[in-house]
Subunit: 226 residues, 2 copies
Amino acid sequence: MKIAVVGTGFAGRTLAGGLAELGHQVVIGTRDVAQTLARTKPDVMGNVAYPVWAQTHGHIGLAPFAEAAEGADFFVNATSGAHSVEALTAAGARNLAGKVLLDVSNPLDFQNGFPPNLFVKDTDSLGEQIQRAFPEARVVKSLNTMVGNLFVTPKAVADGDTTVWVSGDDAEAKRTVTELLTQFGWSDVIDLGGIATARATEMMVQVRLLTMTSIGTPMFNFKIAR
Amino acid sequence: MKIAVVGTGFAGRTLAGGLAELGHQVVIGTRDVAQTLARTKPDVMGNVAYPVWAQTHGHIGLAPFAEAAEGADFFVNATSGAHSVEALTAAGARNLAGKVLLDVSNPLDFQNGFPPNLFVKDTDSLGEQIQRAFPEARVVKSLNTMVGNLFVTPKAVADGDTTVWVSGDDAEAKRTVTELLTQFGWSDVIDLGGIATARATEMMVQVRLLTMTSIGTPMFNFKIAR
């Protein structure tokens, strides 16, 4: 597939790398290519600047949102939640129409510090906001319950014996995402239902981040033990 | 210890039974003893009426809230979230003063059907509401992330290899609760921090209930795999 990954941060790069390794043609979309390529400092989590990462990922393109999106068969939203709708709007509703949009974002609000609050929750979700903003896209929420390091390498924790959830209104789109997750090595994919069930997984972010603080590492994942 | 369990539902009975088995003297508090003893029908989850359960648990007392609470060393709040503050008020702030209060409730709002919404979340929690209402009690939130069947028998799922979280402002109270949890068989008890971190675990209820629907059983639990 031709895949557009919207967002140049750690989550987007990780998925771009993993999808390219599966043989897909991947372009990362950004607001301003020159600005992205001029970055030199690591981000707040200590991840290297985009150009440093790009040196070892020359097969992955970088283009303005709309150019990356044009003709793509599959989209990933890996922007920060507060800017997701804006970035996807720049990618173009027309480009998204009919396409699967894997949304890994969370509606984080850092105004009160750590742990973040959620700018939408419980009776609505960011997944639903994106689906409403782009009614012709086929939004699937997934991977938003873990640290980005695990997205494409689930075996990095507990030999991959952990859980990932999917939410979406379009059954075929969920099958496409589940197939990709399986190719990454995910073995326990739980389908929660329609995109409204993204509320449930988005509300897990506080327990994940506080658990990280308590156990002293982000390298863990939820497993539904049964 | 002399223990008062506030609430006659499945969660309260299960904890009452487990605590009595550990050798504690347990009294269950209810609003109206006569009414509780007059019940004949199973609850919405199919659990037998209180008097049926009481036939095999004659060593566990039943008393009006205030009477059950009087002189108790340790409290359990196992009422439905919407009525917790009211029930604990009836138990008496004076009785609760200085005592550990294990709160296993969730702020469920079933007005919109299933899955329930939360009547408090994200920037506040039921755990904090209870702590504010009874500032002299030492509230510890725990066990609210799983089906009641596992509270005192964690080995019923994955041979007990799953996780339980604790939140509370009082370190000694958390130690007391953690000791009881360990006696029940819990091996992975994660301390999230102060009572404000109850927000994090209370917000897990939707993913738990939707997962139950998806996998077809309530007999599972979250495990932090690392």
